[in-house]
């Protein structure tokens, strides 16, 4: 008996994400995903019950992963300014290093049939636990978590999605500075 190959499962997910970056969530048919992954269409159904199961599983997984990427770059000992910078920079770097995942998650999050599979709020709870500590110590201004998420993640993603040409570093530094001014007391 052949054993289940989790690398193959991974390859399928990555192929789908790559394809969706190129052709949009519309253009990613099971047949195309299979060809991109170098497997038979039927093989996909060994690892996922349906196309929607594949999409939602990957959406969920990558949603968490992108926040964990940021999580790994922050530590309790950081200064508040440093923390904000790490979060925003981490967010941005992730979009550059995982362009296809970023595009995929953004598309899924807007799609009414997929968005409810993942709660954006839950994904960043690790980061928020730390921020809450800073807020408790008066190192970061208090505000609702939703607005905190709104200003910490949305603008940098906007930047990542809409930046075209020219050096992005200054833009990013400016944004960091703005958010520091906004959130530091």
């Amino acid at each position: 008996m052949r054993t289940r190959d989790y690398e193959k499962q991974q390859r399928i997910k990555e192929a789908m994400v790559r394809l969706i970056l190129r052709e949009g969530i519309n253009g990613a048919s099971v047949a195309k995903i299979a060809r991109e992954a170098g497997v038979s269409p039927a093989t996909i159904y060994i690892y996922y019950d349906s196309k929607e199961a594949l999409l939602s599983a990957a959406f969920r997984e990558y949603s968490y992963q992108s926040y964990q990427y940021v999580d790994r770059r922050i530590r309790p000992g950081m200064g508040a300014a440093e923390l904000i910078e790490a979060i925003v920079q981490g967010c941005y770097t992730y979009t550059v290093e995982h362009e296809e995942v970023f595009s995929f998650v953004e598309q899924c999050a807007r799609c009414p049939t997929l968005s409810e599979y993942v709660s954006q709020q839950e994904c960043c709870c690790g980061i928020f636990d730390l921020i809450h500590q800073y807020q408790a110590h008066g190192l970061i201004r208090r505000c609702s978590d939703l607005n905190l998420a709104a200003v910490l993640f949305a603008p940098v993603r906007f930047l990542a999605a809409n930046h075209k040409g020219g050096p992005v570093e200054p833009q990013l530094r400016e944004l960091v500075a703005m958010l520091q001014r906004l959130l530091l007391p």
Copy 2:
């Protein structure tokens, strides 16, 4: 002067947008759009060369329209704080009053095959012209237009997309206050 034909074209666009809110950009086939609009599939091709032409035309049109909605709520005489409030509130109110258009534009903007039909930057040039005047007079802090757009539009849309349950008004007022503090000198 609106001819009967213009109205039919409008009906098609609105039907598509309604459908995409319900079923996502994947679920909107030409046949379904036609049924929703109460016309024949062939009729759609009288007004648009292809499905992509329909999508991109609507995307472009509604993108501008959503900024014009905000535009109509601001005037040169406003105070800077008032201006920021009007923009953010206008943005939010639009998402509530045109839920389906908001969802549609958000989906299109993330889709690689559609996003390049519209430059988000161009759409808001009217608003930015005014802001530039305020900045020139030192009433609003200077920063790059991209970051300005990033903080003015992205967080409020994040709020609109991710808010679930509970009163939204306090959230929105808090966000306005945050952005006023951020952008006022």
Copy 3:
């Protein structure tokens, strides 16, 4: 606008029935039916909602038709012996002249997912009305309708299905004689 072509609908049904005679109800895929009928697979779905709808509609239609064929060969004025002969002969002739329909209906009638679309009892009510008159006049022995159908239709179909080689006429005449002896007083 092209108008609906009922000849085409007929062609589809006939193609399916022909195919099922050759390859069995298993072997009749929509694509094969379409090829046999000389239309596109999609065209079938203009006239029928689904493959099952096509099957059940044809099953129902041909079930009635095969009894109507017999119906046309009987008249109130016939003698009782003559009536029985007409029914059995009619049944048999139909299976010869419409071999593919006979095979199709027999297969559908045995398939659990299709059989309940058609009540065999209802199909032959016209014939039974006449027989009831004969029974009322004591020209045909009384028995339950179910058993009447069982002896009038099942054996002749058995003959039609299982006869191989040799002249069938004597067999058929013998069967007619047997049933006359059975049913005449």
Copy 4:
């Protein structure tokens, strides 16, 4: 002596027959049969060369078995009337006790691609040998074997397949009486 393997082979056949009763001959895929039997799809191919081989082997086997069931209920010493009753009753009881086998065999017998694997005539040769003796002694009327099979087996199966609701016993007794009158001198 039944080896463990023989039992597994049996399980596969029974699973298939059960499935075909529920979903028709169309709905019985190898994967479903395997699941129903609690084995792997590959295991089926250890015992049978192909799906068709499985179908035809089971068809042949169960065809004979259903006649053997009747065979066991008749003995040379019986009266002619008793013999006819035993055959018809035996036939009917079998359909009740082996509903799934009955449905399976009936479906196979009508399917052009399967029917030729089994000659219905051959299956009942044991019963016919006995009847021939009765006929030789003038205890049962002479007629061709095909018509004999037609009246002995087809009506009772028709009854079994088309009876719905109400007590079946009287129907069956009536049929037995009819066939006795038909076949006894």
